[in-house]
Symmetry: C2
Subunit: 269 residues, 2 copies
């Protein structure tokens, strides 16, 4: 039950003279915890080719209004903020995500800025990462990150829908589309996660981009920052829903896939 | 809000003739998800000496009626089932856990058996692990495990309270008390978790024991099984609350501590 529903019920109780109204208003409610980074499946399962969507976006939206993800069979890149969810397809087009669409891997939270700080200049993604990691309050928590404004340069990618079931992500990414944006306004959304979730999520930064006019974007491979404000939501709790059927249940998740992850996430080889 | 509270509220609404009663009864409620394995902090933080209790058992009980844990400064072993929480101290005594006691690391869930199967004979912990792992439906999920009955042999340990703040777990365990039980009746409680949560929890089996008369038990180092029924709760969701203050925030959680974990959990060297 969310706060608005609780308030509505209390108002209704009071209007109707219900004896339970006052008691209910004082009850502890199981509000949805807003300081949780919630993910479906694991990055290693995605790397191993568990590409079938196992959770609807209707369900994902119950766990966050902000985040990044992919789609059934890797059909594009997802970015969400302010409760708006978008699909950036491999042909560059951006469409609204509908609740019946599904994802094999994604991460969401309810974004609420805890603090912000300026980044005057970052020459590339690595430089940005180094500067921001220096000021994170602890390397043992997870953080949601939002940056809004003008960017001198953003390079993104989007992966096309895979026709082969259970294609490995590293092979699928070899056919990705690359997009470049210069002097572009927009929003960067993503997470910084610590090494302790290696195998589950993407250690370090994982960021997606959407232009201000919401017509382009993708998974960020590189970018240049000038006079940006980085907004940070410290999220000390983590939740993970593991698929109960499909290829996930038999995927080999015992190895260390960090090299493949580097190739896929950063375009490095 | 749990089901009992919802029912009580609906009855009260109906008795008082409240107009909201029927509407409320049909509302989707945010029940506490019962199929979540919930943990506070990480095993690697405990290994690195983050021993101060950061969550009360009062809070832990909101997330499960079943589980295993330790206490502030490693003061004994915790076992819970059926909503009863016990502290097995290093002097062998067993006391009820009070809500104001705290834990630096623990794992709980609401136990609800999904299936069970017999183990006719297991000569030791390794033999038991091999037999049960063969029949787990997926190596990529987490499971709560309960075994009730008579055991030919159980060897347990309990660690005494550490006077040194931030003692490493491997050093603290060197001073553990060892207990042996023969032809004993009791309950074994614990979890099987996959490699994918390495660093966070204890991959494989992690089991605690309490005698039927609730006067002895501890963390299981070894045991023999004859004609036991293993009850399994498949728990496809995982949640983790990371401490927001204290030594956790600056602990070095970047390394691989699996060898130290083996020494501590199984008594191997």
């Amino acid at each position: 039950m969310n706060g608005r529903m609780a308030t509505a019920l209390c108002v209704l109780c009071l209007v109707s003279g219900c004896a339970a109204g006052f008691w209910f208003a004082r009850m502890p409610l199981h509000e949805v915890d807003q300081d949780v980074i919630y993910q479906v499946s694991t990055i290693d399962a995605l790397l191993q080719g568990s590409l079938e969507g196992t959770m609807t976006y209707g369900e994902m939206k119950k766990h966050g209004d902000f985040g990044i993800a992919t789609f059934d069979r890797l059909d594009g890149e997802m970015i969400a903020f302010g409760g708006d969810f978008y699909q950036i397809k491999a042909d560059g087009k951006v469409v609204a995500v509908t609740d019946d669409m599904t994802t094999p891997f994604g991460t969401v939270t309810f974004f609420s800025q805890d603090y912000s700080f300026p980044v005057r200049h970052a020459a590339n993604f690595s430089d940005f990462s180094r500067q921001v990691e220096e000021v994170l309050p602890s390397k043992n928590h997870l953080y949601a990150i939002q940056i809004r404004g003008e960017f001198p340069y953003v390079m993104t990618r989007s992966i096309p829908r895979q026709e082969t079931p259970n294609a490995r992500l590293v092979d699928a990414a070899a056919n990705q589309s690359i997009f470049e944006f210069r002097q572009t306004r927009g929003t960067i959304v993503g997470f910084w996660t610590p090494d302790l979730v290696r195998g589950l999520n993407v250690p370090g930064f994982h960021l997606h981009f959407l232009t201000e006019d919401r017509t382009g974007g993708g998974h960020i491979l590189d970018f240049i920052v000038e006079n940006a404000t980085v907004e940070v939501d410290i999220t000390p709790r983590f939740a993970m829903a593991l698929p109960e059927s499909g290829s996930y249940t038999s995927a080999d998740l015992s190895g260390d896939l960090s090299h493949e992850l580097d190739v896929v996430e950063k375009g490095s080889t």
